[in-house]
Symmetry: C2
Subunit: 318 residues, 2 copies
Amino acid sequence: MQYLQEQFQQYLQNYTFKKAPENLYAACSHILAIGGKRVRPVALLLSNNLFGDTTEDAMHAALAIELFHNFTLIHDDIMDAAPLRRGEQTVHHKWNMPTAILAGDVMNIYAYAALNKINATYVQACLEVFNRTAIEVCEGQQMDMDFELRTDVSIAEYIEMITLKTSVLLACSIQLGAILGGATQGTSSLLYEFGKNLGISFQIKDDYLDAFGNAQKTGKQVGGDILSNKKTFLLLKCLEKADVKQRARLHQLLASDDDSKVSNVLQMYTELSIREEAMQLKEHYSQLAFTALDNVAVPDSRKQEMRTLAEFLLNRDH
Amino acid sequence: MQYLQEQFQQYLQNYTFKKAPENLYAACSHILAIGGKRVRPVALLLSNNLFGDTTEDAMHAALAIELFHNFTLIHDDIMDAAPLRRGEQTVHHKWNMPTAILAGDVMNIYAYAALNKINATYVQACLEVFNRTAIEVCEGQQMDMDFELRTDVSIAEYIEMITLKTSVLLACSIQLGAILGGATQGTSSLLYEFGKNLGISFQIKDDYLDAFGNAQKTGKQVGGDILSNKKTFLLLKCLEKADVKQRARLHQLLASDDDSKVSNVLQMYTELSIREEAMQLKEHYSQLAFTALDNVAVPDSRKQEMRTLAEFLLNRDH
């Protein structure tokens, strides 16, 4: 896994944008240089390796996925008015909003340019998966924004939103790797299911860590989601399980900006066993993911690296 | 030409987005419904007709071009902080900036989804032309924004900017129509040149009409570009031809927001024959366009409709 991460990182470093217009392409390079774990391209390459050696097509697809992901980061940061990403200035802060919009737009197009280098045998199948996914990612982001203004978000809707906003891109990456490895449609669909459920489980863990994580390990303030009244699984489950009196207290807490807001909400989470609910739901989706992977018809020994990636994503404490 | 315009309009009316998320897709439908002359898809279909009957692939490509064009309109309107387009509210005004960013993003992806319906024989060739063009459109928009902050823009740079920002998409449309009609690479490239020069000529006419047009016919305030100090061909040529004294006067006029700003600048344009310069340059690019079209190896009678479109674009007084 680490080998593929380094291989992809190297590939990315050799990828350069044009020189001009300078502002536009400096913005694109900036977001790519901020880094990240490159989980999606690595998952794509691992999936490709289930069926043989890494193909050149898989590298094109991995690049496309990373470019697309970074395009969404630039635009999401504008929408969230976020000044920082991984300790670095966001694109709209370092340049300006118009350049950030354009840098995102052009990176999306460069993702398609990378996909168009894929061998003719596979290009349309890959584009079909990619287009459907890219549309879903936009839909998920819109749902997330819509949720901020709603008070009646159900847990089912929340799961749908995180599926679209974050899981399907991991699923798509893993499916593309399989398609480009020559997998059958059934096998590539199973791997999509694996990635989708892994992504959902990962996102629930993310919600969990925001409330119950160790600030020293996560590097984030504990309870950031609580402070911003974010409709996470934890909050929605707490609202669902609360009796009339508890719900009134929770709404009162949400409306406050008291210093003890985080600790008070966490106390309610404890009262209603929300921590255990989150662990259970995470486990549910992990099981779905691993069952799908088990059913993939390749020798079990080949799946070990993919299991390592999944466990790395699910067991992280930061 | 009118027949194809109606045919495409009909096709577009039958094209519907998904129902949910409602805000996202209502925004997409809104911009498409605002309309416009559908010049690019019509040019694509006309180009396709140079080689035979309209193919289904050409309809897919025409839709893709119109979706892409509308995506850029949504994002350009955000960047320009424009409240209105064709008398209707812009997307970021009717909804909000985040939804406008996302609606643009998703329309770009739908453009690719339409392109991916093209027959396997042609899809990669079409995507190659489309991707290169889409990148150039973003670059042109960035150049346009960069020009606002510069005082040393040359006429050559201005021509490059309008080429990228507006002409190449018309050129791409016409080339795609040719590719999908089975044209040779040489022929499709000639048609690209035709479209590119036609687009440049069209944009110079646009600059011209803003200063010298009839407000009743254009429906726009005469001198809008002058009021906003926009670096059009007219202004750049005026700065180039002006002697030291005239240049100082022009800079003084640009710095003012006097009621007589427009008439005073127009007077300088007259003194320095800028109107004639613009007409000459427009004519230069028209000639390049028509020469390219003349060299396309199809019977002259088939080209008549394309000439009609070109003349419509170049001779319009609004």
